[in-house]
Assembly symmetry: C2
Homo-oligomer: 129 residues x 2
DNA sequence: AAAACGTTAAACCGATTGGTTGACAATTAG
DNA sequence: CTAATTGTCAACCAATCGGTTTAACGTTTT
């Protein structure tokens, strides 16, 4: 049964808060490709070094990033477990949009039948943000 | 030039921000069961009426809730499309946590094989979490 | 030992957040 | 008509946010 109280989950609070900033989402996107130092994470953004460092700290506190100090560099790697938690939370609501998508899909099928002819479609799959 | 680095998605910003608060997540949880007025949404939380109203406003601005004014009551209903957007964003990282589960599974299979070689024919595969 | 590097800490800033109160408008009930 | 109900708005508050600058720290290089 659903909880009538405020569903407290500090994890989810921190994860969703961390994801609510485009800079941090972009950082995660880059960490999805390879491990990066704080400096490497900072450079793409026109932002002070310390500013980027604070963003990384937020990601770290949310458990989305883990840090390994090697010499004077801090290597960051993506930690996806907490993303899985957020995903699990969203799953609870999946039926609401799939129902809608089903209806949309039916509608598009109808259109396709009427339109008869259409062409090409490309698909990019890079994680850029 | 500024937007080259950080791909802006105001939608995601707003949705993740809205989800980063336990009161708002609880409100969505109740709206998943039935449509509710602002007052009904407010009562479970020991919070002023205006306070709850502001939370609903945040959910509304994120596109997660839609309001229908009927007389003096404001009926709120869940709008899941934006949740689907958040889910789609997370999906791009799915391989990271599924990959980990895959590796764990492979490891367990390996263990099983080693055990079978060394000794008996026990075939337990309980992965309880 | 000194200089350069990678990063954090501290102090500060304006904007936003989550929350309150009190006044107000509109609808409904007695 | 007058009450009460339902909700908003504006003002205010302390806390946090995203960002800066400057200083400091430990590590490597020279």
């Amino acid at each position: 049964m659903l909880n009538h109280m405020v569903e407290r989950s500090a994890h989810l609070d921190a994860v969703f808060h961390a994801l609510a900033d485009p800079t941090r989402r972009a950082m995660l996107g880059r960490l999805a490709e390879r491990e990066l130092t704080i400096g490497e994470l900072a450079t793409p953004f026109h932002m002070s070094f310390a500013g980027a460092s604070k963003h990384v700290r937020v990601l770290e506190n949310a458990g989305l990033v883990k840090r390994t100090i090697r010499g004077r560099s801090h290597l960051c790697r993506l930690e996806a477990a907490r993303l899985a938690e957020a995903d699990a939370w969203l799953k609870r609501y999946e039926r609401f949009w799939t129902a809608k998508l089903d209806r949309l899909e039916a509608l598009l099928r109808e259109e396709d039948r009427a339109q008869a002819k259409s062409k090409s479609k490309s698909k990019s799959k890079s994680v850029t943000e």
